[in-house]
């Protein structure tokens, strides 16, 4: 019994991180209507930034988190202005391959700068485990879950309570009408990319506490993010949160009851089932 609680707790914590990652993706999808195939790989970049700050400045991930988040937000805006804006009106093929190319490019860049080997940040401030009731949970994982929740709450608050956030929702709902009412789509897109990639900065810093860092780390996270977004509903921020937790749980339960090696198969299968049977996901836009 304790085993299952242990497993569920781990899944929950991981799921919260998935939720944060998916948040940015669903936001970009909903507002800009671009599918960001390179989403996971931006998180990889964030992790490497954290690693670099640690290597050169001995800055613990906890402290570099805000720096990396802001840096990633700026990178997000840059990506939008340089690469996404030109293809907003282009055929879908061009849009797919721009972010797809970015994915490949980022992995190559990471491998070029930092090499292909797995890296890890030793001696992080937050380490060790806590005993909560009958189970052990690593402090880094707990902080990751907590940080993810805070980050998610932050984004949801922004989207629902601020003027800009309302602008984002309006643009996601109906870009033309929002434009006619004075909401500049360009500004909204820039904000979306800033938040979307910035949140990856947070997620990356949180994961860097305990996860291996390597060029392809963004791959699986990216694909899981797609599944999460599909399950939660494209464009739905609240949906991404709920879905992230569900996916996290499904993943660990599959690993526990069937086989850890195939734990991703049920997760990917969820994507297929959802888009075929219930395309709007749980709380989706359409």
């Amino acid at each position: 019994m304790n085993d299952i609680i242990q497993v569920l707790a781990c899944g929950l914590l991981m799921g919260l991180v998935y939720a944060l990652i998916a948040l940015g993706l669903t936001l970009i999808w909903g507002v800009v209507e671009i599918v960001n195939f390179s989403h996971g790989d931006f998180m990889m970049v964030a992790m490497y930034l954290v690693f670099t700050l640690y290597s050169f400045l001995h800055l613990d991930p906890l402290f570099s988190l805000p720096l990396v988040a802001v840096a990633m937000a700026l990178i997000g805006i840059m990506v939008h202005k340089l690469l996404i804006r030109p293809v907003l009106k282009a055929p879908m093929l061009a849009q797919i391959f721009v972010t797809f190319g970015l994915m490949i490019f980022l992995r190559g860049l990471a491998q070029f700068i930092w090499g292909p080997n797995y890296k890890v940040i030793p001696n992080v401030l937050i380490s060790g485990s806590a005993m909560i009731g009958p189970i052990y949970l690593g402090w880094p994982q707990l902080m990751a879950g907590l940080g993810a929740v805070l980050g998610t709450i932050g984004v949801i608050w922004f989207v629902h309570r601020t003027e800009t956030g309302r602008g984002l929702r309006a643009t996601a709902e109906d870009r033309e009408t929002a434009g006619l009412m004075g909401i500049d789509p360009e500004r909204m897109f820039a904000w979306t990319w800033a938040i979307g990639i910035g949140s990856l900065g947070i997620a990356g810093a949180l994961l860097a506490n305990f996860f291996y860092i390597f060029p392809e780390v963004g791959g699986v996270f990216g694909l899981i993010a797609f599944v999460t977004v599909a399950l939660g509903g494209f464009g739905s921020v609240g949906g991404a949160f709920a879905a992230g937790i569900i996916i996290g749980l499904v993943q660990v339960l599959s690993g526990f009851f069937i086989n850890p090696a195939i734990k991703d198969i049920p997760v990917y299968s969820i994507y297929l089932l959802i888009v075929i049977l219930r395309p709007q996901g749980l709380l989706g836009k359409f």
Partner: protein, 343 residues
């Protein structure tokens, strides 16, 4: 009108160039005897065929797929398992692999095909990964350790050779088959229908075209060709495992060859394969592991450039450059406003 004008003007040196190119391909192993370079060309030709197979689905039918490697791997595994366990001849195994791939495409394709654009692309990634993970953990077919093909006497019947040269000619033949099928598609009803579907799906439906049926036809052909190349791969390398035959990297490379070359064009995959594969192989040989980084940066940059600047790919670029070099007077552009003439 444009196509005919171009063909007429270019036919004198265009066809000659093509003939020369084909002749050099035919004589290649006798000119360049170093096995390393023959291996390179074999890989190039494999990707010509694979790129074309992707092109049928992605370029002509408009369904972008990043799961082509799954069919490739299924073909490789089917023929290899039949060979190892039941001593089935690899050529027959090749046919069986094609059948398996088509069957899987049919069963999975049906629900997935309804998805549009991005959703379909992601679904193909998900499916490809599911297949790879499944095979990675399926002890019966070797799991992560893969399968080694038995060393048989070198012969055409056994589909195994000591020298690389026969493999080269088989690869060339398969690439020609891929091109033959492409030619047939372009000139058949299937090709016309696929173009109509891409242009305007509603208009196509009002003209009696069942969208799913014809896109499916493209999918079947695509799956078959990929599976056949999978068997070739198995017989050539005499070793298969899930990462090398079903990996996402392979699917991505196949799509890059077709898209960078020029998606939906006849010559695109050829151009793409001849440009990308040598770069990839050579950087790997001379720069080792770090060479991969250069490859990825280059491919990533190229595909972004293609997407943003020239969606027609390198082929369209060549065409534009070629037009400037054409000498002689151009025929006058066809007049547009002639509707007031009596019908």
């Amino acid at each position: 009108m444009e196509n005919i004008r171009k063909a007429l003007v270019q036919s004198s040196w265009g066809y000659k160039l093509l003939a020369l190119f084909f002749l050099s391909l035919l004589l290649y192993p006798f000119i360049i005897t170093n096995p390393y370079w023959i291996n390179l060309m074999i890989t190039v030709l494999m990707f010509v065929a694979l790129g074309q197979s992707w092109n049928w689905l992605g370029g002509y039918a408009g369904q972008i797929s990043f799961g082509q490697a799954a069919f490739f791997g299924l073909g490789a595994y089917t023929s290899t398992v039949l060979l190892i366990r039941f001593h089935v001849n690899p050529w027959i195994g090749m046919g069986a692999g094609a059948v398996v791939a088509v069957a899987v495409a049919f069963v999975i394709g049906y629900p997935v095909f309804r998805l549009k654009g991005h959703y379909f692309a992601i679904a193909t990634i998900a499916l490809g990964e599911i297949v790879r993970i499944a095979f990675d953990n399926w002890k019966v077919v070797g799991g992560a350790s893969g399968l080694e093909l038995p060393l048989l006497r070198s012969s055409l019947l056994n589909f195994e050779f000591v020298s690389k040269v026969p493999y080269y000619y088989i690869a060339l033949a398969l690439a020609l088959v891929a091109y033959g099928v492409t030619f047939w598609i372009e000139h058949s009803r299937l090709g016309y229908y696929l173009r109509a579907i891409k242009e305007d799906a509603d208009a196509a439906r009002s003209l009696g075209i069942n969208l799913t049926r014809y896109k499916f036809a493209a999918l079947m052909l695509s799956a078959m060709m990929a599976a056949i190349m999978g068997t070739f791969h198995a017989q050539y390398y005499l070793f298969i495992d899930p990462p090398s035959t079903m990996g996402l990297d392979l699917s991505i490379l196949i799509s890059l060859v077709a898209v960078i070359g020029g998606v939906g064009t006849f010559w695109g995959p050829l151009v793409g394969a001849f440009v990308l594969i040598p770069i990839s192989e050579l950087t790997r040989s001379f720069l080792g592991g770090s060479g991969q980084a250069y490859n990825l940066i280059l491919y990533g940059g190229l595909i972004i450039a293609v997407a943003v600047l020239q969606p027609g790919g390198l082929w369209a670029l060549f065409q534009r450059l070629g037009k400037r070099e054409v000498s002689g007077p151009m025929p006058p552009a066809p007049k547009k406003e002639e509707s007031h003439a009596a019908p």
